[in-house]
């Protein structure tokens, strides 16, 4: 399986730095692993832990958060809040059986297109080595009483997007 498995990594990138860095990587024709699905947020501090868990529940194998370097936050404190939440979330995910490599917080400034490349490539390889997350989501009950059997979230997500 590790040969053929392509991980899905959801990346929340800050509008003011990491997203621009990803843009820079693009305009510079820098190639990096296509496994990252970038979602632009106004600040890494906007990344609610619910977003991270929601990404996992909908089939992500890894979640990457990109924010401005300490001291550089457009909103002064947002990246520090991101760091606080991230450290506690990572601590909790460990107890839920989710490996540390599946969640990552990186400070990437607008000028660091190469760092976007390096981080995305490295994380893709790490998560690929870990394999799929294999989360089993609870069933949904319809109003008519039909109960679906629990199914791997990845399959569920695949069906929704196809």
């Amino acid at each position: 399986m590790p040969e053929t498995f392509e991980p899905t990594i959801v990346a929340f990138f800050c509008n003011w730095c990491t997203y621009i860095a990803a843009d820079l990587a693009g305009t510079s024709r820098t190639k990096y692993a296509p496994n990252t699905r970038v979602i632009r947020v106004m600040c890494s501090g906007r990344v609610d832990p619910q977003f991270v868990l929601g990404a996992f529940a909908r089939g992500a194998d890894g979640v990457l958060i990109g924010g401005c370097h300490p001291g550089d936050c457009h909103y002064q404190q947002g990246n520090y809040n991101a760091l606080r939440r991230f450290e506690l979330l990572r601590r909790m995910l460990r107890d839920m059986g989710i490996e540390e490599e599946r969640v990552r917080l990186e400070w990437i400034s607008a000028a660091e297109g190469h760092k976007v490349q390096a981080v995305c490539n490295e994380m893709t390889e790490q998560v690929r080595a870990l394999g799929p997350l294999r989360l089993v989501t609870p069933p949904r009950v319809e109003a008519d009483g039909d109960v679906g059997t629990p199914e791997p979230a990845a399959e569920l997500a695949g069906r929704v997007t196809s």
Partner: protein, 346 residues
Amino acid sequence: MTKPKVAFYWCASCGGCEEAVIDLAEVVLDVVEAVDIVFWPVALDFKISDVEALADGELAASFVNGAIRTSEQREMVELLRRKSGAVVAFGACAWLGGIPGLANLSSRESILDYVYHEVPSMQDGNGVRPQEETDVPEGRLRLPHFDEDVRTLDQVIDVDYYLPGCPPPPSLIAQAVTALVEGKLPEKGSVLAPDVALCAECPRAGTKPEDLKVERFHRPYEIVADPETCLLAQGLVCLGPATRSGCDAVCIAANMPCTGCMGPTSRVLDHGAKALSAIASLMQTQEQEEIAALAEQLVDPVGTFYRYSLPASLLHRHVAPDGARAEVEADGATPVGASTRGGGGS
């Protein structure tokens, strides 16, 4: 005029929810006056056949407490669903999974292993584990199936209303029964409680600092908490900012931090994640090592933030409890989770 018929039932719960009905005290007489209780196994002698004999939808409401873990519980709530106009998930376990839901950190196999083979009070015996079917001279005996995971009531049947709390406060129970009798129930899917955070009704709200910061977290036994001051400001992990109100802050009045039994407000998808977010943001320091050290002070983050809501959470359960790891390894993938959870060895 015939009185509306209601049923009470319990699943994976401790009995505290049943106690809460009794705690209505003299108000329970008004309830009995207003409704006809036709099924309440914990208190009154009715049989399943009494429920089966009812017409579909004949029960005005069923109040079901407890999470769902066995085939018997599933069969009973499916029966009550058919017979009821409204099903009310009564208490934290039925709504969110509750304390029994923390069993989702362990696999079914490791739980059975521990309980029947490894628990210290178990004598070295013949390794017998109860079977679902046993043949004896008198015939075949059957036990319910013990499911792989704990589920919330609405992961098993369609649920109309939710009464939060561990157990639900008598005032909310009385309001819900009154609303039912008067036919003034809100929109389907509503949680029958105020939809604001506990801090809004906390008697200590005035002492919550404008810019609340925590230098270290304490566990309740480590300090003598000041009985007037905001517990968060004293470094206790109080889930008031992320938990629904409606409990009259009884724990705070007893000088104990909120543990989150009233569940989230309607704007929150995942109670534990939101509680974690609220607590993490209070950390004073900006340094990564210090933040990581503060995070380590919370010895059991899952049990702290998901104490009542693990089965209802986005992740639902441990990603690879002990039993599931064998399956993962058999598939040739890298084993998930380096450390073992739960009582059983791997």
